[in-house]
């Protein structure tokens, strides 16, 4: 209830180094890690994600590229799951499991890259909209509002149909249409931080805009951005599959979305080849769920008032 009285609890190391701050930060990181680990679903999510990322990285070893070469396929088309092909084969006789592993690469790459684009735009615009006043702020707010309100998928469709299909297109389209939510969160956090008295104190000490942003605002915003990043990767993976499904992806590269697109195009869905419809979809659901769980766990570490959500 009451603040610790200080005197008794202070560390009593006699001659601390100047880098006490760094040591402090390491200690804090350790605390965050321990708190994160106490969240069971978040930890499960993290472990599963680590496995999926590991599989994706090891794709060339686990499923050498030639196994997906249509000309060198031995298995039949649309074979149901068997010992040789645990998840069956696709309409050209390729192993669905191998495609799933390779597809993880593209899906995750798009997810992470699009999120990076989105986070950078969102953080910069959000902090600027919160920090500056007057015209800059008004203009940025309008921009945020526009991207917040405009139907993201429709805008992404427009963008990618103009640039032409491809992986880069999808990354750009998702990145540009998904940053507004982050910008809004970052802006409100920036406003919260800047209303604190320590910002006033810093001004009175003679600080510049750059100092305030670098030393006070950015460190306070980063944890939130981090938690939001993991959540956004999840939405980006879904968005990738959606855009691929609508035919805006690169037809030559395998992603979970393009697998589903092919499943629909080749009639796998109506032909009863359930393994080819189910596997990529479940992979998406699983990965997105894991990102969501990790994101929520991070959030509750950062913001203890959210505990028990």
């Amino acid at each position: 209830m009451s603040a610790p009285s200080g005197q008794e609890t202070l560390p009593t190391n006699k001659a601390p180094k100047i880098n006490v701050a760094a040591a402090r930060r390491r200690q804090r990181a350790g605390e965050v890690w321990r708190e994160f680990c106490s969240n069971r679903s978040g930890l499960i999510g993290l472990v599963v994600l680590a496995i999926v990322i590991g599989l994706a990285l090891l794709a060339p070893i686990l499923a050498p590229a030639e196994t997906l070469d249509v000309t060198r396929i031995t298995a039949g088309q649309n074979e149901p799951p068997s010992w040789a092909n645990p998840l069956g084969t696709d309409p050209s006789g390729r192993s669905v499991l191998a495609m799933l592993i390779w597809g993880a690469r593209v899906s995750l790459l798009v997810g992470f890259s699009a999120t990076a684009v989105s986070m950078v735009i969102g953080t910069v615009v959000g902090m600027a909209a919160g920090h500056f006043t007057g015209w800059t702020q008004a203009a940025l707010m309008r921009l945020i509002d526009f991207f917040l309100v405009v139907p993201g998928l429709v805008l992404a469709i427009v963008l990618s149909s103009i640039i032409g299909p491809g992986v880069t297109t999808i990354i750009v389209a998702i990145g540009i249409t998904s940053w507004a939510g982050t910008a809004r969160i970052v802006r409100s956090q920036t406003l919260t931080v800047e209303s604190r008295a320590y910002i006033e104190r810093s001004w009175a000490l003679g600080a510049s805009n750059a100092h305030i942003i670098r030393k006070h605002v950015l460190p306070a915003v980063m944890p939130l951005v981090l938690a939001n990043t993991t959540l956004t990767v999840g939405s980006a993976v879904i968005a990738e599959s959606t855009l691929s499904f609508l035919g805006l992806g690169d037809p030559s590269s395998i992603s979970w979305g393009s697998m589903l697109k092919m499943a629909l195009d080749t009639g796998a869905a109506t032909g009863g080849f359930w393994w080819y419809v189910l596997s990529p979809g479940l992979a998406i659901v699983g990965v997105v769920l894991c990102f969501t769980l990790v994101g929520r766990a991070l959030e509750s570490v950062i913001n203890p008032t959210l505990r028990g959500r």
């Binding site: 009451s2 601390p16 006490v20 009175a204 000490l205």
Partner: protein, 560 residues
């Protein structure tokens, strides 16, 4: 009429920390009897368990608490009551006037409905008539009149009412079901002194005229003394002193009571003039006394000339600061006194160059202040800022070292940074400095945090400080120590200060001169003794009428 008795009551909070579950004993074996029709004041600092004790009466504590012992309300033991019976007891036998009426009223419902709701819930037996809306409405109107509000105010939403009005709504609500016992939890804490006196008056009159029992909780002994017959002082969950109000005020026994009492010095009492328990100014010599310094016009270090600050635009403009002339002398403490909303904080921010004046200018050493960052830089080294709430004024992510070094780094001060930081901490009486360098603000007490803020300012070696309510958010016992530090800095290092405060006692404690501000204008100024002992302006008189003064204390003694 029920009698309230706590028998060996303990309340324990289960807490969740990073190292695992812990326990915190908020109330520790309290025995206390409140006789019917009596008024009891419960005093103590934040976290001493006084609010927990009050909440336990209606079993309103959060789920992570455990109580042992008995709470006897009449014949019944509250912890043993069934839910149905407990709900029936709530508000009909005892009602609470909550702290911070701002948050204790539902923001989206009209206050009339919120008062009426209490009547409707308990509309059975004698009160069955309140099931009818008409009867209920007339009762609400009657209750509003009781607390000096017009019944039309019932149609307001909480945000449309002032702090004092909201607190009166809370009182009206508490009286709705005619309980025998009223518990008032810091009912006036967030209010200005004048409003505070009005609310206390309303509450005191109602309690007296109806013969109710009252438990009033406050950290402010003078508030309790004004309304209660008896005062109980709590510290760390235990009762440390218990006695008649006059006795506690005049002759506190326990050291903690003495510390609480020292926070509210009697104005006019020479024992507390420029004197605090831990430090006393040396006998006045030429320059420190306000009266003699008057002649040295060239000693003015910081000055506001015809300063006006206007907020808002297009018709709704208000002058927060209205054509103010103010001068602060080198090596002197000037107290700027006013209520919240009087413009005193805006004036302080403008003096610091954090806010641009609409017209007029601030002068430092006779030169007008320019608002370009480069021009302000040398000014910032000379005039520094001490903020109101030290918990908010320190970045929770920065260590004490970083917080204190922020200023020297920004100004690229020559010399060993570590040496500068240590020296500043030592000047702010954080000894030994090494012990504090690596700590973060959360690990320090409120008083220590304020010392870190002061050290951060001193690191730039300023000659003048502007302090905005430097002790308002601190516990009473720490208040005196921080004021002593400011006084010591003035007397021993010649660091003058402009201290913004609502607290006339503070001015009496440490200031040389006092300036009274009202609605953006300065209405009275002069040496402390002159203004506080012989006020001229109506507003100053009004302020003085609601704080304890030596005059009043003498009257009390005479009456005995």
């Amino acid at each position: 009429m029920p009698r309230l008795e706590f028998v060996d009551l303990s309340v324990i909070y289960r807490t969740q920390t990073t190292v695992g579950p812990g326990e915190l004993t908020a109330v520790d074996g309290v025995n206390l009897v409140v006789e019917p029709g009596s008024t009891l004041g419960l005093a103590g600092e934040s976290g001493c368990g006084k609010s927990t004790l009050a909440m336990s009466v209606l079993r309103l504590l959060p789920a992570n608490t455990r109580t042992t012992g008995k709470i006897l309300l009449g014949e019944e033991n509250v912890p043993d009551l069934g839910w149905g019976r407990l709900r029936a007891v709530r508000w009909t036998e005892a009602a609470i006037v909550f702290q911070g009426a701002m948050h204790s009223l539902n923001p989206v419902r009209k206050v009339r409905d919120q008062i009426g709701e209490a009547l409707l819930i308990h509309a059975s037996g004698d009160r069955a008539k309140y099931k009818e809306e008409k009867v209920r409405d007339s009762r609400v109107a009657e209750l509003l009149k009781l607390v000096d509000l017009s019944p039309a105010k019932g149609n307001s939403y909480p945000h449309e009412l002032s702090g004092g009005q909201k607190q009166r709504i809370m009182i009206a609500m508490a009286l709705a079901c005619e309980p025998e016992l009223i518990i008032a939890d810091e009912p006036t804490t967030a209010l200005d002194v004048v409003v505070q006196a009005q609310v206390l008056q309303v509450l005191g009159d109602l309690v007296a005229s109806r013969g109710l029992s009252l438990i009033m909780i406050s950290h402010d002994l003078s508030v309790l003394a004004a309304t209660c017959e008896r005062i109980v002082v709590m510290q760390r969950g235990k009762i440390v002193e218990d006695g008649p109000s006059a006795e506690i005020m005049r002759n506190p026994q326990h050291p903690h009571t003495q510390a609480l009492a020292s926070a509210f010095p009697l104005i006019g009492d020479p024992a507390s003039r420029l004197r605090l328990p831990s430090y006393a100014a040396p006998e006045p010599s030429g320059t420190t006394s306000g009266g003699q310094a008057q002649g040295h016009a060239n000693d003015v270090v910081l000055e506001a000339r015809n300063l006006t600050v206007t907020f808002g635009g297009r018709g709704g403009a208000t002058n927060a600061v209205d054509n103010v002339n103010l001068s602060c002398r080198r090596g002197e403490i000037t107290a700027l006194v006013g209520q919240s909303g009087s413009g005193k904080t805006t004036l302080a921010r403008t003096m610091l160059g954090l806010q641009r004046p609409t017209s007029g200018a601030v002068y430092y050493d006779g030169n007008p202040l320019k608002h370009r960052r480069k021009d302000l830089k040398s000014y910032r080294k000379a005039v520094q800022f001490v903020l109101q709430d030290p918990s908010a004024a320190l970045n929770p992510k920065h260590t004490v070292y970083e917080a204190v070094a922020e200023g020297p780094r920004l100004h690229k001060l020559p010399g060993d940074e570590r040496e500068i930081v240590s020296r500043a901490l030592r000047r702010a009486e954080l000894n030994p400095p090494e012990r504090y360098l690596a700590t973060i603000p959360q690990e320090l007490s409120g008083g220590q945090r304020q010392r870190v803020v002061i050290a951060g300012a001193l690191a730039l070696d300023p000659e003048f400080l502007v302090a905005d309510e430097p002790v308002a958010s601190l516990d009473a016992s720490v208040r005196a120590d921080i004021l002593a530090l400011l006084l010591k800095l003035k007397c021993e290092s010649g660091v003058g200060a402009l201290v913004i405060t609502h607290d006339l006692g503070l001015a009496w404690n440490i200031a040389d001169r006092v300036v009274v501000m009202y609605q953006g204008k300065i209405v009275e100024e002069g040496p402390v003794e002159q203004v506080l002992l012989d006020p001229q302006h109506e507003y100053t008189k009004k302020l003085l009428s609601v704080v304890p003064t030596a005059q009043v204390a003498a009257d009390l003694d005479g009456a005995k």
